[in-house]
C-alpha cells in the first residue's frame, strides 16, 4: 500500500496548481507589458527546466548542452520565419528542423560519451555547446551573428489582430483587456508549454521513469537486471533535447527575436542549473517552483538590490557587491549553500515534511 502524501507534498502541489492558475489568467490579472513578459518566460522556462530535470534529476546525467538544444529550436523557427515569411508552415517546419538537429546531435554526443564517466559527459557537452555558440555568432549570414534575427510571426499574433469583434466592429474587451493578438500569442505559449509539461509528467510516471531512477540510484544493478543503461540514457538525452528544442521554438515565436543572448548563451545554462537545483532535482514540481522563483528574482530582485546599493553607497566595496548587476553573485552563494544543506532543493525538502500516519 502506498504511503499517504505528506502535508508538504500537498502544499507543493497546491502551490503548483496556484501557479498554473495564475499563469492561465495572467493577461487579465497583471495588466502591464512587463508582467506578461515575465509570465511567458516562466511558461517556457518551466518546460525547459523540467526537461533538464529529466536528465539531471531523474537520470543523474549532468549536461551543459541544454541551451544548445533550446537554441536549435529557436534558431530553426527564426531562420525559416525570416526566409519563408510569417506563416504557420515556417513555424512548424522550423520547429521540426530544430528537433531533428537536436536529435542528431544528442544521439551523436550520447553514443560517443554516455558510456564513459558522468564527468566526461559533462565536459564533452560543455565543449560541444561552446562550439555551437561560437558557430552561431560566426555564421552570421544564417544566424545574424551577435545581433541575432528579428522577424515577423504569423498574423494571428500581431498586436493589431482582433480576436473577437463586438457589434460596433471594435475589439471586445474582457475585464478591461482587449482580446488582441498579444493575448493569442500568450495563450499559444501557455498551452504549448502546458501540453509539453503534462507529457513529461506522463513520461516520469510511466515505467520508463522508474527505470531512469533505477539507473540513477545504481547503474550496475540496473544493467544486471537487464536494462540497457546506455540505450536508456541516450534515449532520455534525446527526449529532453527534443523537448528543449520545442520550448525554443515557442520562445522564438513569442519574442519575435532570436539571438545568442536570449537562447544560446552560457548564462541561460547557468539559469537553468540554478532553477533545477533551487526548485529541487528529481521532481517535476521542483522545476515549476524553481523557475517561478528564479524568473521573479531575475526581473524584480535587481530593483531591490539597486535600492540596497543606494542605501549603503557611503561604505566601501559593499555598493559594488550589492550592485544590481551582481545579483548572480548572491544567487551563486545561495546555490552553493543549497547544494550543501538541501541537496533536494525547496520541493524535495518540503515534500518530506509533515508526514501523516
Amino acid at each position: 500500500m502506498q504511503a499517504r502524501q505528506t502535508y508538504g507534498a500537498i502544499g507543493i502541489k497546491a502551490a503548483v496548481l496556484l501557479i498554473g492558475g495564475l499563469l492561465l489568467f495572467a493577461p487579465f490579472l497583471f495588466q502591464d507589458v512587463r508582467a506578461l513578459e515575465v509570465a511567458a518566460r516562466i511558461c517556457v522556462f518551466i518546460v525547459l527546466v523540467a526537461s533538464y530535470d529529466l536528465l539531471i534529476g531523474y537520470t543523474g546525467i549532468v549536461s551543459f548542452a541544454h541551451t544548445m538544444f533550446f537554441g536549435f529550436g529557436a534558431y530553426g523557427a527564426a531562420i525559416l520565419l525570416r526566409l519563408m515569411g510569417p506563416g504557420w508552415d515556417a513555424v512548424i517546419l522550423g520547429g521540426l528542423l530544430g528537433v531533428v538537429a537536436s536529435l542528431i546531435v544528442a544521439t551523436a554526443v550520447g553514443l560517443l560519451s554516455l558510456r564513459v564517466k558522468a564527468i566526461f559527459f559533462a565536459m564533452i557537452t560543455l565543449a560541444t555547446a561552446s562550439v555551437v555558440l561560437v558557430l552561431a555568432s560566426q555564421l552570421s549570414q544564417f544566424t545574424g551573428g551577435e545581433d541575432g534575427i528579428t522577424y515577423r510571426v504569423p498574423d494571428l499574433f500581431k498586436p493589431a489582430t482582433k480576436l473577437l469583434l463586438d457589434d460596433n466592429g471594435k475589439v471586445v474587451k474582457w475585464f478591461g483587456v482587449s482580446l488582441n493578438g498579444k493575448i493569442a500569442a500568450y495563450y499559444f505559449v501557455f498551452f504549448t508549454s502546458l501540453a509539453l509539461f503534462i507529457a513529461m509528467l506522463k513520461v516520469v510516471a510511466a515505467p520508463l521513469g522508474t527505470v531512469l531512477k533505477a539507473i540513477r540510484e545504481n547503474e550496475a544493478r540496473a544493467e544486471a537486471i537487464g536494462y540497457r543503461v546506455v540505450a536508456y540514457r541516450t534515449f532520455v538525452f534525446c527526449l529532453s533535447a527534443a523537448v528543449a528544442s520545442l520550448a525554443g521554438t515557442v520562445y522564438a515565436v513569442w519574442l519575435k527575436y532570436t539571438g545568442p543572448d536570449t537562447v544560446l548563451s552560457f548564462a541561460i545554462m547557468i539559469d537553468i542549473l540554478l532553477m533545477v537545483v533551487i526548485g529541487g532535482m528529481g521532481t517535476m514540481w521542483g522545476a515549476v517552483i524553481g523557475t517561478v522563483l528564479m524568473v521573479l528574482a531575475q526581473y524584480y530582485l535587481r530593483d531591490l538590490m539597486g535600492a540596497a546599493s543606494e542605501a549603503v553607497s557611503s561604505l566601501p566595496l559593499l555598493p559594488d557587491l550589492l550592485n544590481p548587476d551582481r545579483w548572480l553573485l548572491w544567487l551563486g552563494l545561495i546555490f552553493i549553500l543549497l547544494v550543501y544543506f538541501f541537496p533536494r532543493g525547496i520541493t524535495g525538502t518540503l515534500m518530506q515534511k509533515g508526514s501523516r500516519q
Binding site: I124, A127, S130, V131, D320, R326, L328, F335, V339
Partner: protein, 330 residues
C-alpha cells in the same frame, strides 16, 4: 602492420603525434618561415595550456574530483598579475632589465601565492564536503565558478584591462625571414620548466611516488597508512597555483584581458585534459601541445574552421581512444 605499430611504439607511440602534426602542417603550409612562426606560437600556447590544465588533471586523477571552478584560478591569476604589473608600472617602463625582471617575478609570485592560498581555501571549504559525490561536485564547483566570476567583475570591473609586458620581453627576434616573438619563447621555457619540475617531483621523490600510487589505487595507499587527503590538499594547492601562473602568462600573451577569460579558457583546458587522458601530466602535455599547434595551424590554413578545430580534434581522438591518449592507469 603489427610490426609497424611496434616500431612506432618503440619510438614513442602517441608522443609522436605533435611531431606528425607539425610535419603535416609543413607540407600543407609550404612556406617554411610562416610554418616556423606558427610552430613557435603553437608550442608557446601549448605550454601555457599545459600550466593551466596539469593541475586539473592531477586533481582528478588523485581524488576523482573534477573541479569546474579550475578556470577561476586562471582568471584570478591573470587579473592579479595584471594588477601587480600595473602597480609596478614604473619598474616596467625603465630600461633596466633587473627592474623589469623583478616586476615580472613579483607578478608571477603574486599570482602563484594567490593560487596557493585560495586553492587551500577552495579545497577545505568547497570541495571537502562533497568528496565522493560527483553530481554535487559538478554543481558546487560550477557555483563556485559563478561566484568567483562575479567577484572578479565586482573588483576589477567589466571593462577590458590592458596588461603591461616587461620591456625586455617585447619585440621579436628576426632570424632570416622567420620572426619569433620573445614572449612566446619565454612562455615556452617557463612551461617547460614547470613540466620538468613536476616530472621530477612525481618520478624522483617520495611524495611524487605517493601521488602516483594514489592515482593508481587510492584505497591501497590509505590502507598502508598514508594520509592521502593531506597529500591531496597539497596537490590541489599546487594545481591551483600552476593554473594561476598559466593565467598570468596568458594575460601577458593576450595583453588585453576581460572577466570572460576564465570561461573561454575553461573549454580549451577541458579539451586538453580530455585529449590527454585524465590523471597524467605527460598526457596533459601531449594534449596541450596538440591543441596549441592545431589552433595555430588551422587558424592559418582555414581561419573559418579555427574555432571548431579543437572540437574536431577532440572528437577524432575520442573516437580513436575513448579515454584519451595517455590516461593514468586505473
Amino acid at each position: 602492420m603489427q610490426q609497424i605499430s611496434n616500431t612506432l611504439e618503440r619510438f614513442g607511440g602517441v608522443n609522436l603525434l605533435p611531431l606528425l602534426l607539425a610535419v603535416l602542417a609543413f607540407l600543407l603550409i609550404g612556406a617554411p618561415s610562416s610554418w616556423a612562426t606558427l610552430t613557435v606560437a603553437g608550442l608557446a600556447m601549448g605550454m601555457m595550456l599545459f600550466l593551466m590544465a596539469s593541475g586539473l588533471s592531477l586533481i582528478f586523477g588523485l581524488m576523482d574530483v573534477l573541479n569546474f571552478g579550475h578556470s577561476a584560478f586562471v582568471s584570478f591569476g591573470a587579473f592579479v598579475a595584471a594588477s601587480v604589473l600595473s602597480a609596478l608600472g614604473g619598474w616596467l617602463a625603465s630600461d633596466s632589465i633587473t627592474l623589469n625582471a623583478l616586476a615580472l617575478t613579483f607578478a608571477i609570485l603574486a599570482a602563484m601565492s594567490f593560487g596557493l592560498i585560495v586553492g587551500w581555501l577552495f579545497e577545505t571549504v568547497i570541495i571537502r564536503p562533497v568528496y565522493h559525490d560527483h553530481l554535487r561536485q559538478i554543481l558546487i564547483t560550477m557555483g563556485a565558478l559563478i561566484v568567483s566570476e562575479q567577484i572578479i567583475l565586482a573588483v576589477w570591473g567589466g571593462n577590458p584591462i590592458t596588461v603591461h609586458r616587461p620591456h625586455f620581453l617585447e619585440g621579436a627576434w628576426i632570424i632570416g625571414d622567420v620572426s619569433i616573438e620573445i614572449y612566446r619563447v619565454f612562455a615556452f621555457l617557463l612551461g617547460l620548466a614547470a613540466f620538468i619540475g613536476l616530472y621530477l617531483v612525481l618520478n624522483r621523490t617520495r611524495i611524487g611516488l605517493l601521488v602516483r600510487a594514489g592515482v593508481e589505487n587510492r584505497e591501497m595507499v590509505e590502507a598502508l597508512g598514508f594520509r592521502i587527503d593531506r597529500l591531496f590538499i597539497g596537490v590541489f594547492m599546487v594545481g591551483s597555483a600552476l593554473a594561476a601562473i598559466g593565467g598570468a602568462m596568458w594575460a601577458g600573451y593576450e595583453t588585453l584581458i576581460t572577466p570572460a577569460l576564465g570561461g573561454e579558457m575553461m573549454i580549451v583546458v577541458f579539451i586538453v585534459v580530455i585529449i590527454g587522458g585524465l590523471g597524467s601530466i605527460e598526457g596533459t602535455l601531449l594534449g596541450a601541445l596538440l591543441v596549441g599547434l592545431t589552433a595555430n595551424y588551422v587558424g592559418f590554413l582555414a581561419p573559418k574552421l579555427a574555432l571548431a578545430s579543437n572540437m574536431i580534434l577532440m572528437i577524432i581522438i575520442l573516437l580513436w581512444r575513448p579515454s584519451g591518449l595517455r590516461p593514468a592507469a586505473k
